[in-house]
Symmetry: D2
Subunit: 264 residues, 4 copies
Amino acid sequence: MPLPYLPLPHLVNPHGDCAMTFVTSSPYPYPYNGDLRPENTVLLIIDMQIDFCGGGGYVDRMGYDLSLTRAPIEPIRRVLRAFRKGGFPVIHTREGHRSDLSDLPGNKRWRSRQIGAGIGDPGPCGKILVRGEPGWEIIPELAPLPGEPIIDKPGKGSFYATDLDLLLRGKGIQNIILTGITTDVCVHTTMRDANDRGYECLLLTDCTGATDLGNYQAAIKMIQMQGGVFGAIAPSEALLKTLETMTIQPPAQQPDAVISSSNH
Amino acid sequence: MPLPYLPLPHLVNPHGDCAMTFVTSSPYPYPYNGDLRPENTVLLIIDMQIDFCGGGGYVDRMGYDLSLTRAPIEPIRRVLRAFRKGGFPVIHTREGHRSDLSDLPGNKRWRSRQIGAGIGDPGPCGKILVRGEPGWEIIPELAPLPGEPIIDKPGKGSFYATDLDLLLRGKGIQNIILTGITTDVCVHTTMRDANDRGYECLLLTDCTGATDLGNYQAAIKMIQMQGGVFGAIAPSEALLKTLETMTIQPPAQQPDAVISSSNH
Amino acid sequence: MPLPYLPLPHLVNPHGDCAMTFVTSSPYPYPYNGDLRPENTVLLIIDMQIDFCGGGGYVDRMGYDLSLTRAPIEPIRRVLRAFRKGGFPVIHTREGHRSDLSDLPGNKRWRSRQIGAGIGDPGPCGKILVRGEPGWEIIPELAPLPGEPIIDKPGKGSFYATDLDLLLRGKGIQNIILTGITTDVCVHTTMRDANDRGYECLLLTDCTGATDLGNYQAAIKMIQMQGGVFGAIAPSEALLKTLETMTIQPPAQQPDAVISSSNH
Amino acid sequence: MPLPYLPLPHLVNPHGDCAMTFVTSSPYPYPYNGDLRPENTVLLIIDMQIDFCGGGGYVDRMGYDLSLTRAPIEPIRRVLRAFRKGGFPVIHTREGHRSDLSDLPGNKRWRSRQIGAGIGDPGPCGKILVRGEPGWEIIPELAPLPGEPIIDKPGKGSFYATDLDLLLRGKGIQNIILTGITTDVCVHTTMRDANDRGYECLLLTDCTGATDLGNYQAAIKMIQMQGGVFGAIAPSEALLKTLETMTIQPPAQQPDAVISSSNH
């Protein structure tokens, strides 16, 4: 272990043609079935908010080093540009709570207060982790475009109490490319929940970061156990190389899309 | 059948004191365990939006008689006033879709267009059933107060792809008082899903309406089958009488509450 | 209203070829997009258990007329035979509770006892609505074959607290043909929840029944409101006729399938 | 950071009396509100199956060292004995798939085959990770007693596609004590999903194990970030000491309980 990849009879591109597309990833070439297309693959950018990687936000208030959670900004930017150019769908997420805190579990609030960064309490970027406040906004470098849905989530996972699964279903998504912060918390929880639902997941190692380097490294390693227990990992360069080999036609303009800063 | 109510050993108010509170309802006095308090009971007002009971909205465009869906406005208003006075929590819901329609299943869109009221298409009240448009707003008569959460839902049920269950959990809710429109569609779906989760449900018959009178009557009847298969029903007068007998202290002011027209 | 069906540009079979398949149904030809194939269409048979249509079971104990819930047996049998022959997937459901009743909400138990048919209490067919008891078994006329999954559900809906959605996802299902009992309770709740998730649903009118004829009729009518608010309805004859026109090749034998009387 | 624990006005035992109960844990005394009782606290034992810690099972077939996943057996046994004695509820989980593999995502199967331990393929303990097979059984040392529910789950998390949440709700659970294997996969996914739902979680460090020591250590560390981002951790000795200080009366015998080897 790792064993060599066995030729398997069911490794057939369900799309029907011979061309299979793989990213050079670990512990196996992604996606497992070689079916990577703009019609079935989404870029998910998790919680790139001021609260998690901006000055005066939640993570800053807890006293963590911001350089770790800011490191993925540029790599994500490059992947985002390539996905937009290739006509792939993009979805962003934001962690945050209702301003009346009715969706904030008591223990989550208590813990945040214990470490001096109480959710809902005033901070330099407005009420900490509250929807509509400055700190909750996605950083300008990665601002969503019109037609790129934003998932507002109250938890660490992106599926619980949100419409993410409905959106993925509607788009016919099978493959999820995961980026964002933090690796060991929101990104990992989302990857685990996506994997249980049967989505084929790839984490881009340089497009994610954690508040602690050891936790980042461990989170990357965990994914590769058991032949890829939650999916696969790759540097963004590997994915970009694969995209370059694909002949992709941008989709027709979607006239309904408008800029939405919330989930309206 | 209906059989007389048997004395059951587990019919004990879990709150521990002797006082039990019941509403005169059918097919049994509500709630089943007599534990009705502001701490465990919520008023749920479903989809009282212009699109469902206002001129030029979705239901109007489909050609239905608005008087049926407008009938519950005044009764809901009275109950809402009593609940607010008694310090009970209130939650509102809105059906509507993201402006890019990414949460709109293809068949739902197709059907709405077939009958000349295409979701997302322009209408007298803006894009039909789209978040942020005039037709999607809750009618002024029942406008939410600060601190009353609003659930934005893409479907008929209020639990699917929303944070409603998280909110009910956080508030310690056991009993749900259902009002709103339409009786046989969104209200019934929500009642069914709430009942499966173990919530004790009461539908207020005059606080709800449908686009068709027969469907309204059938929806009321269905609830009372099998000893109350989805809960119980009562006129709002019965509930108001019960509230009057309770000595209720309004809760302390919640300083965090602010007006929110969306789920921020 | 109903308006004539408009020609819509997006009414295109996503499978890519020209052949579109429709069932003569109301209020629109089913499925909306003409894409009806064994690969994307499942027959769902809901709760055809002794407790709901057999002597001495739960419904019998409540004093309802069994002829109404037994009426769909033969029509379902014909459709089941056609679906098996055509290589369509089939899924069965069973309502029932764990023998320790840990999944039985307190109000559901209380109500059943009030009407003399206490869930978990002994009856002529074993403990009422309890898994593993004789009354809980699917009736022999519609016994599942090896490889036809059975969903054990604690509620009225088939999605809550079950793996149904995971199974549908895995099979690539888009269309659900609904049959079983009772029309207004378990079948309707399942249809509503499936519809909210974007599945395209067809209820076969003669393949379902209720404990009350009026409720049965109202449940059928409700579906056809708003251009098909939960999907469409048709007699089974219409579906069988459509199947006859399709040239269907039975799938290759699935060697893994074994007889399973539970969800092992 | 970690900051000293601040006295907070809302740190009040909702049960109403003065006695608060805490376990000496990290990064804060558990539970946060001091409300630890048999009525609101469950012991969750995750996947202590032959496939994960027995000879010839799934983990053994993948070539991992079994001593790591077998280490928690004795510590869990001690905690299980204390919980049973104290009248606390206990829930067990099992990962496994339907024998027709209809609940097995294609990528999960493919990955398992790549590493020579194909789910559903024959092994020394029967078909790997399939319900009803010898390898899928809970190890005899930790065999469930009558009345202790078993959750059969198709994924790594214990909430997805199961009735766990319904059971916890029915029992009035607020606190979850997590044990079992493997720490970084099924235990962590379950802890994350429980935490998002508002449950207050404690992982017992010696009652859990992973296939890799570094992953075990990292999983423990991750929990303690951000003031306890997923809850708290403690050695089982700390919890047992706390239980000794509580005066607990065993609950009345539950006559309905019967031995169940499946989820019937």
